[in-house]
Amino acid sequence: MPKVSADKLEPGMRLARSVTRGRLLLIAKGTELTEEYIEKIRAMGISAVYIWGPSHPAIPKEEALAQLDRRFRFVGNRPYMDLLKEVVREHIENLYD
């Protein structure tokens, strides 16, 4: 779920998190952005909002997972490190789905 800065918003993007000010709901999660909404977001001085969709990782999945293995090369068998590695692996894989 990428965060997109207000000046890069385009009509048709869908909000992944509600836009709020304090406890006040301004635009609800799931709303499809129109020119009017984008104008409103910019006018309120909100710098960025969360948009549905993949975060576009910079490297291919296989490379990301190979790097993960390299980072854990010396510690994979230590207590709890296998658990941490598994959670991170799942998280990285999700970025590509």
Partner: protein, 279 residues
């Protein structure tokens, strides 16, 4: 191993922030926050007199990654809401950005991600002082910056050695210097009159089992640091994940779902760098 006593090293570390090679804003900030008689109001005025600093402080507290409910529109509002120690920490944090970019690219992202993750874990654990934990996370590696600035050649060697031997930069530092970045960072935190708990978190973030008065806070920053390296976000001096302290990990008692949420927030936090400095 460099040939210097720990006393002399400490003197050099404490002196370095006053040197002309350090940007003047950071020098001034260091002087202001190291002054025991300074009031919150005076710090607020100091920030307000510098438009660039004002904008950076307001952007960081209003960023989604900081997660403060509601918009903080002025420095005086921020100082009242966040208090002296958090404001001091944010000032140091935003003003070392360029230095970090120029000395160890990726260290600032590492620091920011650690701050965001630490704050989230602290909130999950119901700690009242979660803002202080954020600051401790933001400044936990400031000792690395000082070591590189003061001993660039030796630090480069330590980094190379870490990569070749497959050890962490923390271990390589202990072989090359009489101490490590965590201890050095704690000296600076003391000089800047941060509260004792914060100093202890910075000092023991690699050895959380040694912390007496802030063991949970230290465990939090310790784990956040490891999670960032595990996820491969930012750069902290070596390409390896350090081993988690089982005692610290058990004390935090986080579920897999908690961990996933923390990883998610960490990744999101990487994007505020652009918000903060490129606009």
């Amino acid at each position: 191993m460099i040939n210097i006593s720990i006393r002399d090293l400490r003197r050099r570390v404490e002196g370095i922030i006053g040197l002309p090679t350090i940007p003047s804003t950071l020098r001034q900030i260091s002087r202001v926050i190291g002054d025991p008689s300074i009031s919150l109001k005076e710090i607020g005025e100091f920030i307000s007199n510098d438009p660039a600093l004002t904008s950076k402080v307001l952007k960081i507290v209003n960023s989604a990654a900081y997660g403060f409910p509601g918009r903080i529109s002025s420095v005086s509002h921020a100082t009242v809401l966040l208090g002296l120690n958090v404001i001091k920490g944010l000032l140091i944090g935003v003003s070392v950005f360029e230095l970090m970019q120029n000395t160890m690219c990726g260290l600032w992202e590492h620091s920011l991600g650690c701050a965001v993750a630490s704050r989230l874990i602290a909130k999950k654990k119901g700690l009242e002082g979660y803002e202080d934990v954020y600051v401790a996370g933001l400044l936990h590696d400031i000792g690395k910056l000082v070591l590189i600035l003061e001993f660039p050649k030796e630090y480069e060697q330590a980094m190379e050695e870490a990569e070749i031997k497959g050890i962490t930069i923390f271990e390589a530092e202990e072989e090359h210097f009489v101490t490590n970045h965590a201890v050095i960072g704690s000296w600076l935190a003391e000089k800047w009159l941060f509260p004792y708990n914060m100093i202890e978190v910075i000092r023991y973030h690699h050895k959380p089992y040694l912390s007496k008065s802030a063991s949970i806070e230290t465990a939090i920053v310790h784990l956040s640091d490891i999670l960032l390296r595990a996820e491969g976000l930012g750069f902290a001096g070596d390409p390896f994940v350090p081993v988690v302290s089982p005692v610290a990990f058990e004390a935090l008692h986080l579920s897999k779902m908690d961990l996933r949420e923390i990883l998610e927030e960490m990744r999101d936090s990487m994007e505020i760098k652009e918000e903060l400095f490129l606009s």
